[in-house]
Amino acid sequence: MKRILSLVLCLMMVLSLAAVAHADDKVTINFYCNPSKNGGVEAAVAAFEAANPGIHVEIVEFSSDTNQKKTTLSSIFQAQDDSADVFMMDCTWPDEFISAGWLLPLDGLYTEEELAEFIPGIMDICFGADGSMYAIPEYLNAGVLVYRKDLLAKYGYEPAKTWEELIEQCKVIQEGEAKEGNPISGFTSAWLEYEGLTCCAFEFMWDYGAKFAAEGKCTLDSAEAQQGLAIMRRMVEEGVTDAGIRGYKWADSQAIFNAGSAIYMRDWPSAYKNAINPEKSSVSENVGVTVLPSGTAGSFTTNGGWYIAVNAFTSHAEEAKTFAKFICGYEGQVAYSSKSGDLPTRPATYSDPAFEGTMTAQLYDIALTTTSRPSSAYYSEISAEIYTNAALVADGAKTPEEATADMTKNIQAILDR
């Protein structure tokens, strides 16, 4: 009995050694990415592994909270750990990560012609102060207005072109629906005090002509910025926004819209993809999408783009760089964006047959003109100033004048560091 047992144990050890030996044939790299939207990441990774049989990519999903993603990466990099070989990076992190020395320089990966294949306006962030390239744009995001086609048609409206129009439409529709015993919210979005609110606040302020900074001085203490914040407060005061809007992140806001409880929603293109998906939305046949309403200075949308970067402490630098280049390449972006609904960063991909007739092709013009948030190594603190003050205005605890004054003073202190 004992002999048989020891024989079985030896056999198991040998087999497991063989498995380890076999596993050594392939290089495994870890890809830390955002939670998968409709299988986009899996599709891109599958395409990569088909083209590169010697490399296996392990997909590691982040939490859906952007601050949490940054915390996870910070912990890994502070330990100089090599577990995150390639990862997705929000467009507001590069400055901080580059100055911390956490990103592997990607020099030599692209030629000048290849770099010109990306949308030009989003490439600045990829380069550090030393001129080296540290990140590659993977996908863009542009804020869009998702709306209920049936409700607008019922009251004879076209999708609102300005914020004022949106407020008037919502008030009429909400009153009408409430009379029929079907109370509904006008507008939902992610106005919890976090990065999502910063994106929305910037859009409102830019829509009325505000600019963040000029020549190193923060210029948000302006009538334009105050107008932008004031329209947010007006929407809350007049009952147009959903009751819980100041507690929502993007997923919560989508849940409200997909349950049929809101007329309009400001979100990213992937939210539209979810809203028209019968498995996720109960109003999937009645959803339309269009550009965001404009203020007096036009309609602006925040670039919520994500970049791909390589861990400076990785032990598989070559494989990681190959994967990074592929997933940001033509094939990788088409595979990812056709499933996820996010916008590619290569203009050439927009005419690919995979996007024919989809919203992606419609949003090409917006994609070219999304506006980036300010880049700074201390971006988290600047963002906190913006969302804290926008929240105070939305709640009526501060007037727009006080908010822009405080915001500008504190941001200037950060910029002066």
Binding site: K70, S74, G247, Y378, T388, A391
Partner: protein
């Protein structure tokens, strides 16, 4: 000789525990103290930690957000510990009664403690949610309110919501400690009081309470220090709250440390929390000592 061998072996057997303690507790605590005197940020992490003396502490005492967080934390701790102690004692008295349904009642009272804090936070999120929460639904059906109450996004109600969730979660813990305290009261004292004509309330306050004081003080001390460090419940419910009004000291510390990458300042805030916890412990120790010496 045999005894000495056993002694040596005993000390050797302690070594793994000492190593774990040193690595996971002693080193991080000392490292945090050291960092609190340094300028150490992710943005300049390549330059290492630069010693700057008490500059972080000076910044801390001039920081409005720190004082707001401290005031909130102190107020929250005071109210929640008092509520939890009183309700805990009531539950302990219920659990102490003999009866057929005793096991069931005990189990029901203890359930909130068994649910992980984050899970119960998410649960309360659904209860308190403005437009789809059960609480607002019930209030509207009963006709108490016509508009949804903004439990988590109105600065007046957010404090209350967090208090309710925390008290609900922690009363079982306090009731267990109070129950063990109740058991230590010598029944002969209570019988003697009954014979002398004391009613239940009188015998509780005049006999049981003085006997239980040392244990109650220890329980309240532990709970106060724990409550002072509240983080996960607030993180899940309001994330520091509408307009930063429900930011506890720990939430502020972690925001500075991880979100802003300002690790030196975060360490100084952590040291502040440590010092306050020590002060609480010392205050209670003195109280316990004087009671025991009676």
């Amino acid at each position: 000789m045999h005894n000495k061998q056993r002694l040596v072996f005993g000390y050797l057997a302690l070594i793994p525990a000492i190593i774990v303690f040193a690595v996971f507790i002693v080193y991080p605590v000392f490292n945090t103290f050291y960092l609190s005197f340094c300028n150490y940020r992710t943005q300049t992490i390549r330059q290492g930690a630069k010693f700057i003396g008490l500059a972080n502490y000076a910044q801390m005492f001039g920081d409005d957000k720190m004082w707001t967080a401290l005031k909130f934390t102190v107020l929250f701790t005071l109210i929640s510990v008092v509520l939890e102690s009183v309700l805990g004692m009531l539950c302990a008295l219920i659990m102490n009664r003999q009866g057929k349904t005793r096991a069931l009642v005990c189990a029901m009272i203890l359930i909130p403690w068994c649910i992980p804090t984050v899970v119960s936070g998410l649960m309360w999120n659904y209860i308190f949610a403005e437009s789809y929460g059960i609480l607002n639904f019930l209030l509207q059906i009963l006709g108490v309110t016509s508009q949804p109450v903004r439990w988590l996004t109105d600065s007046r109600y957010a404090f209350l919501s967090i208090l309710i969730s925390d008290v609900w979660k922690t009363v079982p813990y306090m009731s267990l400690l109070m129950l063990s305290a109740l058991k230590t009261v010598d029944s002969s004292y209570l019988e003697a009081a009954q014979i002398d004509g004391a009613n239940k309330v009188q015998s509780f306050f005049k006999i049981s309470m003085p006997c239980m004081k040392p244990i109650i003080l220890v329980a309240v001390m532990f709970r106060t220090i724990q409550s002072f460090r509240i983080y996960d419940l607030i993180r899940v419910l309001t994330n520091g709250g509408p307009q930063g009004k429900t930011t506890s000291l720990t939430i502020y510390t972690i925001t500075q440390y991880t979100t802003y990458g300002n690790m030196g300042y975060g360490a100084a805030l952590a040291v502040l929390t440590f010092i306050i916890s020590m002060i609480i412990a010392v205050c209670f120790q003195d109280g316990v000592k004087s009671k025991l010496e009676v």
